[in-house]
Symmetry: C2
Subunit: 453 residues, 2 copies
């Protein structure tokens, strides 16, 4: 993938056996993201050792690419001085994310060591709710004044460049930091040097409020293809920017979250979670499912007499329930994903429910017909085949209806549309499948029995 | 969201009643992405009308933001001249994506109208396989020569700027277009004007081959936080770049795809698909599921005699199957997502299977115990409760095992790990659930019956 040879061989898992110059060279010769992968193979105390010897400035770029867990575990092994220098050097949003992960004692200790301006900025960033634009933004944005000439603006950006996350978009603010315009570096270098920022800036500024849900911010950035999105407070004062690389992560994490919720998984679980943690995170969902499964089980018990008369029903009933569950999950997934991507408008939601029911009707008729034929061939009983067909149609309509309705209702209740929805939908299709099939069988029992088995 | 008022009111659905100046003003006053949303409300012939009157150059930005379907439907309503001008103006990757959607006759017609250089470029882009880096890249990248001074390089970029997708990363190539270095515009404006490109460029160039799967390219760009990724041919010659905005879409689409495959949905289905298309796309999966459900059904039929003896089993057996299905989906989803995000290394995959089985064992014991107690309270039969507990444990181990194993095997077979995996896993947990529960019940029938109902 990368054009230069990877120096993996230089750093071995868990032990530093190489001279420092070799380690340093290995870290220097690759992209910081790859250096972080190399670093992450060491124990936290060894990483701390490397940070102490090479100096925070030297390892900063790689350190910022380390997972928070590793960053957090490394800090206690560093000297006070190094911690302060390292934290001070970090970008404000990375710094806030890390500090947020620390326990309160360590947080307080650290805050007391920072200089006042840094402390205030950090405290401010820590106040934004977890999934808001504020929590993801960086305060290191490039800003310009409207009255500057293009030449002055370029000089200004040259000065700001080393400290800013991006200088490719520059934001034009007035004396009270109100956001009045936006300018790209491309616009700037293409303009005549004696022109002014005011003349070439775009006044059609699109921005997001600091408390906006980051998922919606991601949607906006995808819509506009922005490299960075300005974040403003409720008086339209610029407070930060969110950059495209944060959005890469947001889109990925939101998708994971939806997938997990659709599968009744806690969003905190990871493939690397310890076994007992996975057990603990999954069992509440299984208990909920147990509750809904008991309803289906109780439904079957209502028809014990029917089953006792004609035990073949017990082997056929899972077909209706199972296919209904699959159809319900199909409708559910299409609707959950469309809600997440903002593809369902408020006024169109009844139409969505109706369409899913119609798809259910047709697929129920189709699969039901095939299943009826199989039943006929297997048990030579046309009445049994008929009720199989009817039960499939009824249950697939229920599947389409609830597959669409459950996420729409959850969204209406301001909950995540995927939250536990598959459990409710399959509970309905299981119960519905058993009820329709066994209910019809009870109704037509005489006719079924006259055709014998 | 946006700071300026939205002029939605000016354009009404499906009919142009406003004077052209008003329409033009409405389109001009918003971001092209929003102008595209306004345009998309019209019928294709009306959009064509707007393009003809305002001119391709004027509407280009908004047109590029329109969904391909709308672009495609608009073209036949345009004059030949306008089509050629519009297509020529489009960015190469957008153009190729659009032309790919057209039917062959129209494609040929269009190709014959383009100038030779454009035609060759377009034909080249059309040859890359659908999900490869080549299919997503643009050929409008900024390039520099190593020997240029910084001042010359900046002048060069100023010249290239209007035609290039981004000038924030510039690629340094030799006479045969071999990629030898990379330079950001930030580096350039911070460097002394009399320095040379050679001196300040980074030689640690990370690039991707033109035939690399776009999903892997997205993973690389997320890893490095790149704004653009250079794409090279097999002789390391630069052929294009992929920009961050394409990656927004790739990450989103890949997530949708995985979610769809996990739910046994065809990836071509959309919430807006016509009903009969949804029926057609979903039914094959339902037929597959029907086949696997028949295995479970057949398993139950093997135990008809047991059920006839003790009909309560028919109402309890769905509990074991249902909970197993849920647990299997949990394991499956964790593993599928981890595979997609590259979190499972090849040597670690047996460990993953083992861990999922262990989680299954514990959750089976836990849920099984609760279910056993409920069974005891409901049916006052300790032997029934015991086999319920054992069947739950066995089935949950199967769930964990296959939930992990199926996607790992599919990946090994170079298939998508999510492809139909939920059908196989639930087939196994249904069949397993029925088999363990009814099998144990058959073994212990004497003891169960002595405790009566």
């Amino acid at each position: 993938m990368s054009l230069q040879g990877s120096p993996d061989g230089l750093l071995h898992e868990g032990a530093i056996t190489e001279p420092w110059e070799v380690v340093q060279q290995a870290l220097d010769s690759v992209h910081p993201a790859d250096a972080a992968v190399l670093l992450a193979q060491y124990k936290p105390q060894d990483i701390a050792h490397i940070v102490e010897i090479l100096g925070p400035h030297q390892v900063l770029a790689a350190f910022e690419f380390l997972p928070f867990e590793v960053q957090k575990e490394t800090l206690p092994h560093l000297s006070r001085d190094t911690v302060v220098r390292l934290i001070s050097l970090m970008r404000p949003d990375e710094r806030a994310d890390l500090v947020e992960e620390l326990d309160e004692d360590f947080q307080d200790q650290l805050l007391s060591l920072l200089i006042k301006a840094e402390r205030q900025n950090l405290l401010k960033l820590l106040t934004y709710p977890e999934e808001s634009a504020g929590a993801y933004m960086t305060t290191d944005y490039a800003s310009l004044k409207a009255t500057q000439t293009v030449r002055e603006a370029l000089d200004e950006l040259r000065l700001q460049a080393p400290k800013k996350e991006t200088i490719y978009y520059a934001y034009v603010v007035d004396a009270s930091r109100h956001l009045i315009g936006i300018l790209s570096l491309r616009d700037l270098i293409m303009a005549r040097p004696e022109s002014t920022v005011e003349r070439i800036m775009s006044r059609q500024v699109i921005s997001v409020p600091v408390d906006m849900d980051i998922e919606l911010v991601a949607k906006e950035m995808r819509h506009y293809d922005f490299l960075a999105m300005p974040v403003v407070d409720d008086e339209n004062r610029l407070v930060g920017i969110i950059t495209y690389d944060d959005i890469f992560d947001v889109i990925t994490e939101e998708a994971t979250e939806d997938m997990y919720l659709l599968a009744s998984l806690d969003t905190d679980e990871r493939i690397s979670s310890p076994i007992m943690r996975s057990v603990k995170l999954r069992s509440p969902w299984l208990f909920v499912n147990l509750g809904t499964a008991l309803i289906a089980s109780y439904t079957v018990s209502l028809f014990s007499e029917t089953i006792a008369h004609f035990v073949v029903l017990a082997s056929l009933m899972p077909l209706v329930a199972g296919l209904g569950g699959n159809a319900g999950t199909q409708s559910l997934t299409v609707v959950v994903r469309a809600l997440a991507l903002g593809e369902i408008e408020d006024r169109g939601k009844w139409m969505v429910v109706l369409r899913q029911m119609t798809v259910g009707l047709f697929n129920g008729a189709l699969c039901g017909a095939l299943l009826a034929m199989i039943t006929l061939a297997w048990h030579h009983n046309p009445w049994l085949a008929l009720i199989m067909w009817l039960a499939m149609i009824f249950n697939m309509i229920v599947a389409g209806c609830l597959g669409a309705l459950v996420p729409i209702i959850l969204r209406k209740l301001k909950l995540d549309p995927a939250l536990g929805s598959s459990i409710f939908v399959t509970a309905a299709t299981d119960t519905g499948g058993f009820f329709f099939f066994l209910g019809l069988a009870t109704l037509f029992m005489d006719r079924i029995l006259t055709h014998g088995v």
